[in-house]
Amino acid sequence: MVTTTNITKTYQKGTVKAVDNVSFSVEKGELFGLIGPDGAGKSSIFRMLTTLLLPDSGSATVAGHDIVTDYQRIRSKVGYMPGRFSLYPDLSIEENLHFFATVFNTTVKENYHLIEDIYVQIAPFGKRRAGKLSGGMKQKLALCCALIHKPTVLFLDEPTTGVDPVSRREFWEMLKRLRQQGITILVSTPYMDEASLCDRIALIQNGSILSIDSPQGIADAYPSSLYAVQANDLPRLIHVLPTYHPHMHSYLFGEYIHLDTRGMGGHDLPEELTRFLAAEGFGDIEVKPIAPTIEDCFINMLIRHDT
């Protein structure tokens, strides 16, 4: 449904490389996530695929149409929800929805079944101006407006940034329901915990893709085993742990320190490490093996990328 082949985009006359040789493809009906920190190039990729930006090189197709030569046809087939709220703040919910339906030559009635689940939640405020809505309601309205013309591909650029955790979960529930309706969805997010909700994800850093796989696949591909370590003096622990082994990578993760054991080996590591830490004067020592999260995988890839 969406394919990109070696697309590259540079800004400021080629000095800033925003998207570097990116290739991926998204199947019909897939929920595909672009995961990466701010400035990784997610929005640039989306803006190229929605025909707002021309790539410097490479090619891409959306719903079978080339993004450069056939952009007119793409525009009537895709729904795009930019990262920033960009509906008319001085028009009401109903007016915004009605307006975007009409510019796509359709009516709200015709495709109401697509948005019904979402729209009923904001319908009681139908007469309220869009600018006066809360963050979560704005996102719901924006999603409705992006869906009202029954797009075949939906692009959601950081839809959950700045939205509270409850609304975020609700939002992902809505995306899952939409996928069941056969709409292909591309979503970008800087939140690693949302990655596991996608069918497949691409991890992006500095404009290039580090890995593309299903969330499970990426976690399974973690090259070594991972431990979570905790002790009574966490701030000191961060400094002491690296002295245990020269190859060790450790980083703070919530209230634990995650420990990558690549190049260290040994199944008796938990016991040895506990002894080492006890000798260093720590108490309440806990060392346990854990399954890597997407964030662990991302950090691991960055470390390997650098060394």
């Binding site: 929605t50 025909t51 707002l52 930006l53 021309l54 952009y71 007119q72 525009r75 009537s76 895709v78 795009y80 930019p82 920033r84 709220f85 960009s86 509906l87 008319y88 703040p89 001085d90 028009l91 007016e95 307006f99 975007f100 009409t102 510019v103 796509f104 030559n105 407006c145």
Partner: protein, 372 residues
């Protein structure tokens, strides 16, 4: 066409919802037309005069009372010497000093001629020029009076004089309001058209809504027409309000063809809206658009022939003002309102304005891109 209808519906809805702008559009022309023509008066009045009278004769007193009776001058005092009079000028208490020499009356009667001295504060060039001109004219009249009094009426005038009697056409009483009101109306129209269109599109850029529009199948020309038409209508409303105000308050009613006037204004608005559109395609924020618009507005207004005559500008400025749409409107307004011109008279202006409209809108349309 259907899409255009919905675009227009949306634009008008937004305009009517923005009460501040709406009020401004209606109140601005009324207020400006009431205040400006009364204040922006070219006639120089209240010139402060000091008289150094060394003569103290009935003649000198008669001269001074004649000057003060003209209404243009305010007598600020009788300094004893020219030095004191200069002091008054330095302190900005007097604009003009008239020195009447000792023996003015005696020598005037004896020799039949006498000299007076006028010193003028020329910081404000207009005031100085007009002030001394008024004073010279009063002195000449006075001179005539004295001649009449002294010359024994003979059958033949010993000195032949040429008297010029001007007749003012189109504005017989030289009423400055007749001259200013149509010009101010022209400026108002330019402001409303130019600023509103430029700021409106840049606002869509600023709040990001243009992104959302750009991914829709809306055609470029639909979008641009959707922006032009509402402000074109508003411009005509402002113009009509302005005409009514000048009719009710100043009694100025167009002497010429009203249809020609609206025809010209219609095309003029297209040109100005196109200009606003063009600026909006080159700017990203309302602040940028505002400043660029101000830059051009200053030039357009000051070089538009409203305050200073274009004919008295240097040749390069004259040529430049041909590129200034405001100068055409000011001229056409005065032609139709005062001179009673019709379609045929404004035809050349109409053609030029059509050129402006086509070029500016074409340029703006070419430069408006949905894709970067």
């Amino acid at each position: 066409m259907r899409i255009l209808k919905f675009l227009l519906q949306k634009e008008f809805r937004q305009i009517f919802r923005n009460r501040a702008i709406l009020a401004l559009i209606l109140v601005m022309p009324v207020m400006q037309l009431i205040i400006l023509p009364l204040a922006a008066d070219y006639e120089v009045k209240n010139i402060n005069l000091s008289v150094v009278d060394h003569d103290h004769s009935p003649y000198s007193r008669q001269l001074v009372s004649k000057i003060t009776a003209s209404g243009y001058f305010r007598l600020q005092g009788y300094p004893a010497s020219l030095k004191e009079a200069y002091h008054l000028i330095e302190q900005d208490k007097a604009d003009l000093t008239l020195e009447i020499p000792r023996g003015f009356e005696r020598e005037l009667i004896r020799d039949g001629h006498q000299q007076l001295f006028i010193a003028v504060n020329a910081i404000n060039g207009t005031k100085a020029g007009l002030g001394s001109a008024y004073l010279t004219r009063i002195l000449r009249d006075y001179n005539e009076d004295i001649r009449m009094e002294w010359m024994t009426p003979t059958r033949f005038q010993p000195v032949s004089t040429i008297e010029v009697v001007p007749s003012n056409r189109f504005n017989p009483l030289l009423n400055y309001q007749f001259f200013m009101v149509p010009g101010i109306l022209a400026i108002l129209l330019t402001m409303v058209g130019g600023f509103l269109s430029a700021l409106n599109i840049v606002k869509e850029k600023e709040i990001g809504t243009i992104e959302q529009i750009n991914v829709t199948p809306i055609k470029k020309h639909h979008f641009i027409l959707g922006k032009l038409i509402p402000f074109w209508v508003l411009g005509n409303v402002v113009f009509t309000v302005g005409l009514l105000v000048s009719w009710v308050i100043y009694g100025i009613f167009p002497q010429g063809s009203i249809s020609a006037m609206y025809g010209f204004v219609g095309i003029y608005l297209l040109a100005v809206l196109g200009f606003g559109l063009l600026i909006s395609t080159y700017t990203d924020t309302q602040q940028q658009a505002m400043f660029i618009m101000f830059f051009f507005m200053m030039i357009f207004i000051l070089m538009g022939g409203l305050f200073t005559s274009i004919d008295s500008m240097p040749p390069w400025a004259k040529a430049l003002s041909r590129l200034n749409p405001v100068s055409y409107l000011v001229e056409v307004m005065r032609m139709i309102v005062l001179k009673g011109s019709g379609w045929a008279d404004v035809f050349p202006h109409l053609c030029a304005m059509l050129g402006f409209a086509v070029i500016l809108n074409g340029w703006a349309t070419l430069n408006y891109r949905k894709t970067n």
